[in-house]
């Protein structure tokens, strides 16, 4: 028996969870680049450091983003990954595919690249992992033939994403897939040609469960909600109670606003809807009996980001309720105004949230012409250091 080239990685072929090492080996049988990727990774497992460097502008004609340049720092040892760039390919809304479409994608990637992919990257793109510089343009040409365009990278609008929404979720208060498609098409230029101070992300969730993590992960988060009452089917509530849910303990006591009342003797649930903050807990527990209201729209929050540079931020409410009706002009218009203000005032590598923090929420609201609302804050300020505008002192 010949000795394995990758004894450390081989360990990760054991165990019940799907093994990426097995996948790399499958690709390595067909492609030298995948084989060298595997060998270089084994080297990293030995050295306990990575072996990639950054640099060199790579891309496809007409676009400023969508390709991530990547070079091995050991090109002599691993020539197959000397150039090993990634294409970010824009996924369809909700990550739905026909098998026909996916096979076409495999054909293109088998022809031009390593045969390895991420389904999907953390922002949602299909990540085609590893192709040399000269393959990028022909690969993109073939992708275009089968209707796949590139996503974003660098200081542009990053590929936006949405939850499964109305395609398969009864909680969806907005048509997340259509909103996503519309804004993706509307902002193709912003997606493909970096022109901002930094990256900008838009994510769309159909309800406050926020399955695409819009609030922590996007500069502009759209989160579905409603304005009227939770729809209640009393018979179905009673059925849940008979089925073993302890409605007092599991539903009513965990309601954050304490706006529900359960009468165990009559098996009647009442909700004081004006006090409900639409957190989804009760609906999550009893989806057959409770449903989101009928007057639906979205809350818009802005400024979320990961920690670089000045610390992580969660998005803040700036529009408590927006209707979100096609063709979504009100939303598109808001996005444009936000970008304009950010572009004008933002420093290099300053995300929207950091800019708002630096200039003050007041400046943002004024520029957007948005009225202040208690929905925007957890508490009013606790210091008297408000700088009065002479206009206000009259």
């Amino acid at each position: 028996m010949t000795e394995s080239e990758t004894p450390l990685l081989d360990e990760l072929e054991k165990g019940p969870w799907p093994s990426f090492v097995t996948e790399m080996k499958r690709a390595a049988k067909k492609k030298e680049s995948a084989h060298d990727l595997l060998r270089q990774l084994e080297r990293s497992y030995n050295d306990r450091i990575g072996h990639w460097k950054h640099g060199g502008i790579v891309g496809v004609r007409g676009y400023g983003g969508g390709v991530i340049g990547r070079y091995s720092d050991l090109p002599e040892e691993f020539p197959g990954v000397a150039e090993f760039h990634t294409l970010r390919v824009n996924m369809p809304s909700g990550w739905f595919y026909t098998t026909e479409k996916l096979r076409q994608l495999c054909d293109v990637w088998d022809k031009h690249g390593s045969g390895l992919t991420n389904l999907h990257g953390a922002t949602g793109d299909i990540i085609l992992l590893g192709a040399p510089t000269e393959a990028l343009q022909p690969c993109f040409d073939d992708l275009a033939e089968i209707g796949f365009d590139l996503g974003g990278s660098g200081s542009d609008m990053r590929t936006p994403s949405c939850c499964v929404g109305p395609a398969r979720c009864e909680y969806a208060c907005i048509d997340t897939l259509e909103v996503l498609y519309q804004i993706t098409m509307e902002f193709q230029d912003e997606l493909h040609r970096p022109m901002f101070p930094y990256k900008s992300k838009i994510k769309i969730s159909g309800c406050p469960n926020d399955c695409v993590a819009a609030i922590p992960r996007s500069d502009i988060a759209v989160v579905g909600t409603w304005r009227d009452n939770i729809q209640v089917d009393p018979a179905a509530v009673a059925a849940y109670a008979n089925d073993g849910i302890d409605i007092q303990e599991e539903v009513v006591d965990l309601c954050p606003t304490q706006c529900m009342h359960w009468d165990a003797s009559t098996k009647t649930l009442t909700i004081e809807d004006r006090e409900c903050n639409r957190c989804m807990h009760c609906i999550n527990l009893m989806p057959k009996a409770l449903a989101v209201g009928k007057e639906r729209g979205a809350t818009i929050l802005v400024g979320g980001k990961a920690p670089i540079v000045h610390g992580a931020l969660l998005s803040w409410v700036v529009v408590p309720f927006m209707k979100m009706e096609p063709p979504y002009d009100e939303f598109k218009d808001l996005v444009r105004r936000i970008w304009e203000w950010w572009d004008e005032n933002g420093k290099m590598r300053e995300r929207l949230g950091e800019l708002i923090n630096r200039m003050g929420m007041r400046a943002f609201l004024k520029a957007m012409n948005l009225p202040p609302s208690p929905a925007m804050i957890r508490a009013p300020r606790a210091n008297p250091y408000y700088f009065w505008d002479p206009e206000e002192v009259k």
Partner: protein
């Protein structure tokens, strides 16, 4: 030939299974049939079963072709992926659910990740494809999920548990709101190779890239210096300049963060907080990391009330109790001294012993 540009992604409506097109926006309710299986019922009375399968995220085209074959056989040629890298088979014919599950079981596809379970860990590139990682991503995720497999395929937890991993503090996976976040960290400033800096780097650009202003020019020697006290090991300088690598087998490793939350159910979204400041990189299976994560998950599972997420449990019992119950030593690294630190200090003597 002029290439077509700006035509956008495939139109999603062309990708939807017919039953979803028909009942789009008209779903009435859903049930969790068993771990990994959801049943959605539409107003029309039609139903669709979802079978959720964990994937390693890094997959070959061969794997894609294989799951396409499964989807052809059981789902009329349709499938989808979730925001956490899971694969979902959408079955419109109830008769086909059990055969599909049997097939998946036979071919070792893990079915689960729904309900009170650990879903697929969101993770990043690591040593496989990035230039600033402090650890590998896929390897740790594989090791952790092998270890916690029972919690993916079964409902044994009080609530959801989301584990995520990012391999450096850029946090591509936005792991900062996870029940358990595994984060690669560097602990040493870049080691400068002055010859490479002189030969290959635009010094003003490197200086501008540093978020903390730690880099100063050294015009006399046509190079630069790093004020090590200011460096927070972000790797931005290495992005700009190959003469400033940060990676170090001893300096690099993993930190563990807990109690974050994304959804607004019951309580507002929260950040994960640092619980273990450093564990070494110990490939291929990172035993220190897997046992730390298991300890945290199981301590929570033993002590939390039903529906109580990790962060909600910790807020109820208090951080002092969290450290006591998990046996994790409390160290000075856990006390914030960055920009927003005072918000995390306690201003009342009402804590628990």
């Amino acid at each position: 030939m002029a290439t077509r540009t700006d035509f956008g992604p495939p139109y999603y409506k062309d990708m939807l299974p017919p039953i979803i097109e028909k009942n789009y926006g008209k779903w009435k309710y859903h049930e969790r049939v068993k771990p990994g299986v959801l049943r959605h019922v539409a107003e029309s009375g039609e139903e669709i079963y979802t079978v959720r399968v964990g994937s390693g995220r890094l997959v070959s085209t061969e794997w894609i072709r294989e799951v396409c074959e499964i989807a052809d056989r059981f789902c009329e040629g349709h499938l989808r992926f979730t925001s956490r890298h899971n694969l979902e088979f959408l079955v419109s014919d109830a008769e086909k659910v059990e055969p599909l599950l049997a097939y998946l079981n036979e071919h070792n596809y893990p079915v689960g990740g729904t309900g009170h379970a650990i879903s697929n860990p969101v993770h990043t590139q690591g040593w496989i494809h990035c230039h600033t990682p402090a650890t590998d991503a896929s390897g740790i995720v594989k090791a952790v999920m092998d270890d916690l497999y029972e919690y993916f395929v079964d409902w044994k937890l009080p609530a959801y548990c989301r584990i995520s991993l990012a391999c450096c503090l850029n946090m591509c996976g936005a792991v900062h709101c996870s029940d358990v976040a595994i984060l690669g960290i560097h602990r040493k400033p870049p080691h400068i190779d002055h010859d490479i800096v002189r030969a290959k780097c635009e010094i003003p650009n490197v200086i501008a890239a540093c978020p903390t202003g730690a880099i100063r020019p050294d015009p006399k020697n046509k190079t630069l210096t790093v004020n090590e006290e200011k460096c927070m090991y972000c790797g931005n300088c290495y992005t700009m300049c190959p003469g400033m690598p940060l990676a170090d087998p001893v300096g690099d490793g993993v930190s563990i963060w807990v109690g974050g939350k994304i959804s607004s159910a019951r309580s507002a979204p929260k950040f994960s907080r640092l619980a273990i400041p450093f564990l070494p990189n110990n490939p291929p299976r990172w035993p220190e990391v897997t046992s730390a994560v298991r300890n945290i998950v199981e301590t929570w599972a033993r002590n939390a009330r039903k529906h109580e997420r990790m962060g909600e449990w910790i807020e109820r019992v208090g951080w002092e109790r969290f450290f006591e119950l998990t046996g994790i030593p409390f160290s000075v690294q856990l006390i914030d001294d960055f920009t927003l630190a005072p918000e995390t200090y306690r201003s009342t003597p009402t804590f628990k012993w």
